[in-house]
Amino acid sequence: MSTGSQIGRAVDRVDAHAKVTGTARYSAERRPPGTVHAVLVGAQVANGRVTDIDTSEAMAVDGVLAVLTHRELPRIATRPAVVPSLAGTSAHGQSLFPMQDDRVYYAGQPVAMVVADTLERAEHAAELVGVTYAVEAAITTIEQGRDEAFEPERIFGGIVPGRTERGDVAAGLREADVVMERVFHLAANHHNPIETSAATAVWEDSRLTLYDTTQGPTATRLSVAELLGIPPSDIRVVSEFVGGSFGSKAMIWSHPTLAAMAAQYVRAPVTLSLSREQMFTGSGHREEQEHTLTLGAREDGTLTALRHRKLSPTSCFDEWAEPSISPVSQLYACPNFEGVYNVFRANTMTPTFMRAPGEGSGAFVLETALDELAYELGVDPIELRLRNHADTDPETGDPWSSKGLRECYERGAELFGWGLRDPIPRSRRDGNWLVGTGMASAIYPVYTPMSPQRARARVYADGRAVIETGASDFGTGVGTIMAQVAAQALGMETEAVAVHYGDTELPNTVAAVGSAGAGAVSSAVHTAATALRERLVGQAVADPESPLRGADPAGVAVAEGRMFLREAPETGETYSDLLRRHMMFDADALGEWEPPAQDTGYGMATFGAQFAEVGVDPDLGLVRVRRLTGVFAPGRVLNRKTARSQLMGGMLWGMGQALLEATHMEPQQGRWANASLAEYLLPVNADAPDVEAEMIEVEDRVVNPLGVKGIGEVGQVGVAAAIANAVFHATGQRFHDLPITVESVLAKL
């Protein structure tokens, strides 16, 4: 009768059965009777004005109910503001809402929406909408926009300053024995969850129900309410199953509001799914970026200065760049630092969060440069990192809430067999393949929500429990850990706890973004379930008929739903006994976790160490990853099974970033040239090596009650650098651009 075993258990996902049997209903599959279909028409040009829209042919198609353009679509009530969804407020992905006027800022911007009785008719009619444009020249690439760049005051939805400085970089570089400057180029990326974004809107009088694909049902509710100018309480958002997101569904884009507007217009439930092509212009992207990193170090490898400049395109209306400079600033002890973002206005939509936003790119830049430094100085790459280990947060001097990075290096090196490595480049060959290994560090910040996080716990007289939060589970496994955390606090088996989530009618939690979902939700659930247990124990000890009458509540433990005296386990009763005796069908408690203030006085981040082995076929330009090992220190692990999957998925994402993923701008036309899954290359099964992902638990008393630091993104951080470093080890050639393509390998080998 242990009460310590629920958290950390490798429990199967609570939604596993629904997912393997096909009964899981994703947002676009929720179809009230009479639902009709909306299809968007995107602008063909990247910059200009709509001078005419001929909708007559589209309207003539059988079954077409409406064609909405900027002439017909209602005006929005409030101009959307870009605020990260972690804030818990409305969270618009960009400040442009489509079809409010005739202006076109980017190719794919919706210029019309067709509603018809069937999907095929809506799609066909959408093809028949004739749009005429007055076209203006477009800027979409770094090559075109470099001269227009400026330093923004803040980026990333206003939460990151455009410039970070500490110490004196010029002085630091003067002190250095070695100074290196490297320029990196990273291709634009798209999230491409396999489920495209979709919303079904159902009006009942003034009440709106939205089945939306979102990481934050409340964020959708608040954002749509703002745009429609209706009270948030009139909107219910349901998002029970979400088919992947990776940031594409972290912010709220136009589709749920457009679905609601269409449903209002045609007076019927409307479902709106983006096509795969529209996913490239419908939910943001990771921007193309160029980094210049200048590094100064002493002969012993200790860093004296880092200067980091990032240049990237943003939209015409928002100042967004992923914060790639943060990990560069925070990963190592370096007294002198300068980081500057430069952006220029481009004819794209506003870029957005994409898994490890900034950490993935920043770690590639820094960790590649560090590997070069290691070779330059003849120091082992791990040893070099240890020499620069940040014992405190380099940005503030604050202590870390927890770290564990040294242990990650040590364990990773052991698992991977790093000690057997001959550091000499081109020292291993396997047939046609040059084989190399590389490593890198990983860092991902611990974000804490800015608002209270709530959950409700309920115990039924039949001995079962239910835990509820509004959070959505888009594959993270948050639903499963809800059950485990509740079971732990209630003293029950996980299997006896049902979970409800993904609905604004349930107690509010913030959007599960920034790897903060597990921390926020587990804290709320822990608080609620603990409150319920205390309430029931309190009731029992006050109950003259209870065997526990008069006991000190602190002396009562619970296991398998039975309350008992810690000192005399035979004395006790079950929750069920207590409830039944009092003619209670159930009992519940609402828990509210108040997150720590944003400045805790601690540096808070998850750390890890990444190792990669690659094969490079120098004749054919091929790079293939043979194995990946990652060891991470994510605080407390709530479910070893799902946590490992998250880390593994993140690591394979890093592989995609390193070798395959790139969205290319059509240079003449300012449109994405490869907006399909046939041409935007995601890794397939045959690309994915076996992955070793281990976790080292570190105790963290600062971040939240259970010490959960988050694992959704850190798995990706550093992988691209570990791979590029392995490619160097295999070939003797450095690669500073991602992805590392066949042509880039051929050009050097």
Binding site: Q44, E120, E123, H124, E127, G431, N432, D619, L620, G621, L622, R624, L659, L660, H664, E666, P667, Q668, Q669, A673, N674, S676, A678, E679, L681, P683, V684, N685, A686, D687, T741, V742, E743, L746, A747
Partner: protein, 334 residues
């Protein structure tokens, strides 16, 4: 997608009559190209005629040791057929490197030869494309053309032919059997794919209503050790950046006969005749392979983003030649 009518037929004569007699009708076989083309509005028939039930899917022995592959034989079935595996591994390999298992279960061999190019400008009806709309121009020429062709291009079209198996079949001098309103005829494989020249819209010599009933693969004992090498960004489920189909007959270290197809780099399944000529009579050694590959690519024309394919095609060919030569007991990878 526009709407269209549908009719299912069960014999060849009816199929040909139904389509041949109606300019608005098109054949529907596996659908992996046709349904895709319908959806992106490149194909706009009034009606599709479903020929999946036609009895032309068999794989049969020819008296001389060759094979007759039915026009409707599925890629997966052809690839797995023991006779194909044994006599023409290059064909099995090319098929199994193509698309995905699901698509190979659907797509037919005839359809594979008739498949459309993957050029994104061809696929987007709002873009200039001489193949889709003669005279409209070629947006790929100054566009994103990383995957486009370096061999057989013209100023009107640079789209790469996407087939893998056709690269193997061209090396084997397969014969395409066609039946149409005017009767049956055969076309040599290399002639089945004209160069784009001034008429990139003419992709093959098939007239409306004509149907590929079979592909005949002549006997070739050397093909038993043949090989198809496909190079691409990701490990699977992608079109070739470059590929090579190689059949060699080696006698005492000297190449007596070479048959080579190149894929992923040309506007048609490319028969590498210059490389073949260079190899014939040469020793089966890497130096000869490199010379032959260089000879084949000597006239290649790069576009803005695909010049790497000239190198890649040569190295792909050299590697494939090494592999086959080594299987013949030659120098191989040495």
């Amino acid at each position: 997608m526009r709407s269209f009518a549908y009719k299912r037929v069960s014999d060849v004569a009816t199929a040909i009559a139904e389509v041949g007699g109606d300019p608005g009708s098109e054949f529907l076989a596996g659908g992996t190209t046709e349904v895709d083309m319908l959806r992106i509005r490149v194909a706009r028939p009034r009606r599709v005629v479903d020929i999946n039930d036609l009895p032309i899917a068999a794989i049969e022995d020819l008296s001389d040791g060759g094979l007759r592959l039915g026009g409707l034989a599925r890629m997966s079935d052809v690839a797995a057929h023991p006779a194909v595996r044994e006599r023409y591994p290059v064909v099995s390999e090319a098929l199994e490197k193509g698309a995905s298992a699901q698509l190979r279960n659907m797509a037919t061999l005839g359809g594979n030869l008739m498949q459309k190019v993957r050029c994104s400008y061809f696929r987007d009806v709002d873009q200039a494309c001489n193949k889709r709309e003669p005279g409209s121009g070629c947006a790929a020429m100054n566009g994103f053309n990383r995957t486009h062709a370096v061999l057989g291009t013209s100023e009107h079209c640079i789209a790469t032919h996407p087939s893998d198996v056709a690269v193997a079949l061209t090396a084997l001098d397969a014969i395409v059997h066609i039946q149409g309103p005017e009767g049956a005829r055969t076309v040599a494989f290399d002639d089945f794919f004209p160069l784009p020249g001034n008429t990139p819209d003419r992709e093959h010599p098939i007239a409306h209503g004509e149907l590929i009933t079979a592909i005949e693969v002549p006997a070739n004992p050397a093909a038993r050790t043949s090989h198809y090498l496909k190079v691409r960004d990701r490990e699977s489920y992608e079109f070739a950046l470059a590929s090579a189909a190689v059949v060699l007959r080696v006698e005492r270290g000297i190449i007596a006969e070479a048959r080579i197809g190149l894929g992923g780099v040309a506007t048609k399944p490319w028969r590498a005749r210059q490389a073949e000529a260079a190899l014939t009579g040469a020793p089966a050694l890497r130096a000869a392979f490199e010379d032959a590959a260089a000879a084949e690519l000597a006239d290649a024309v790069p576009q803005g983003m695909n010049s790497f394919k000239i190198t890649l095609a040569q190295r792909t060919l050299v590697r494939a030649l090494e592999t086959v030569a080594s299987a013949h007991g030659g120098e191989g990878n040495a």
